[in-house]
């Protein structure tokens, strides 16, 4: 068939509401567009009009199918940008590790939370771990802990070398939950003392899921 005839046939089928047997062009196109062109019902199996229409519509719809298959990648850094903005929006809590006349060295509480999470994930039996610092508790502790020896460079909200960390973990089915939780506590405490220099570390472990 010539291109001109083919184009004319396409225009024809798109100009009418039904094909010769009475079936709706829109419903046939829906069948094609939803990927069911080959799934003929009992009428279509014996109807040359429907079969011709489905074939023609399938061909017409093919550019859209090709388009839909095109992979789309998220722009690099999209999630990082999102999280940076979220962290900026969230009220941050800081641990001050060193105070001197020339300033303070501070580590964001969320960094401590992340270290705790990553460490918890190294414990055998832990399938997933999420770490956070207990902001509300920290604020209360800050006031008590810094009341008597507040340094001029230390802003309110700073808690010296004390950390309270909450970790939620999902434990593999069949593991001794208490043993896994205790191991998480010990490893996290050791990691935060060694890597960050925190002295007083409280680690609360919540086992909130068991996964197979």
């Amino acid at each position: 068939m010539s291109e001109a005839k083919s184009a004319e046939r396409s225009r024809d089928i798109l100009r009418v509401l039904t094909v010769a047997c009475g079936r709706s062009v829109d419903q046939l196109l829906e069948q094609v567009a939803d990927g069911h062109a080959d799934e003929l019902d009992s009428h279509q199996a014996d109807c040359v009009h429907c079969q011709a229409a489905l074939s023609e519509l399938n061909s017409l719809w093919s550019p859209v199918v090709e388009f839909a298959k095109q992979p789309v990648q998220a722009p690099p850094g999209l999630v990082d940008n999102v999280m940076d903005r979220i962290y900026a929006l969230a009220q941050d809590v800081w641990y001050t590790l060193q105070l001197s006349d020339i300033g303070a060295v501070k580590i964001a509480a969320r960094v401590v939370g992340r270290l705790a999470r990553d460490t918890a994930r190294t414990v055998p039996g832990v399938r997933a771990a999420l770490g956070r610092t207990s902001q509300g508790r920290i604020v209360q502790l800050v006031e008590a802990a810094t009341r008597r020896h507040r340094h001029p460079h230390a802003a309110v909200g700073v808690l010296g070398r004390t950390a309270v960390v909450d970790i939620a973990v999902a434990v593999r089915y069949g593991e001794d939950v208490h043993e896994v939780a205790a191991e998480v506590q010990q490893r996290v405490i050791a990691r935060l003392r060694h890597d960050v220099g925190l002295q007083l570390v409280n680690v609360n472990v919540t086992v909130d899921d068991v996964v197979i």
Partner: protein, 191 residues
């Protein structure tokens, strides 16, 4: 409708995991939200890109949608899937962008929304067919464009599209009927 896209992207596989992560994110676990943001970044960006036909705008909208979702997370009650809720946010933001920052109060698929056939795609490097489809989709009236993107490109069911757009399944179907006719007619030379 389960299109190949839906299976390929494993939409339903995420549902149960999402509940856990959403609950943790609502409790303040940033890394739970980071996992959710990572999980849905491609879908947010792709939806915005196909609605807006512009990379920079799509990137902005995808980021804003993710941040808006975090801000509103405490109000998410799980009455719909998290993905449906997210699609609603990104679609609304994209439509706001399309309408030049005029606020869209509802996504109700009203027939009198203006056509956006004056916003041609700028990416000249893509294949001609892809460009042609991009043009054809961009030329659709906005309600038709939204349902085509969500149903045919994101693989969402009629019911999910209706939930996202605040419309009904018959209305979604009706817009799809018209959109498919327009697309096939416009693209008849490209098969």
């Amino acid at each position: 409708m389960d299109s190949p896209c839906r299976e390929e992207w494993g939409l339903s596989d995420y549902t149960q995991d999402d509940v856990y992560l959403v609950n943790r994110a609502q409790e303040g676990y940033f890394d739970a939200y980071q996992e959710l943001a990572s999980r849905y970044a491609v879908r947010m960006y792709r939806t915005a890109l196909r609605l807006l036909s512009n990379h920079e705008d799509a990137q902005d909208v995808a980021q804003d949608a993710s941040i808006n979702a975090w801000r509103r997370l405490e109000h998410f009650r799980g009455q719909s899937a998290y993905s449906t809720w997210l699609y609603r946010i990104v679609t609304r933001l994209a439509l706001n962008k399309l309408q030049r920052d005029k606020p869209v109060d509802s996504l109700e698929l009203l027939p009198d929304l203006p056509s956006a056939d004056d916003s041609p795609p700028e990416n000249l490097e893509r294949h001609e067919v892809i460009d042609a489809v991009t043009d054809a989709v961009a030329a659709l009236p906005i309600p038709q464009r939204v349902v085509v993107v969500l149903h045919h490109f994101e693989g969402l069911s009629y019911a999910e599209v209706a939930a996202i757009t605040g419309s009904s399944v018959p209305a979604v179907r009706s817009h799809l009927f018209r959109a498919r006719r327009s697309l096939t007619y416009t693209l008849r030379e490209w098969r």
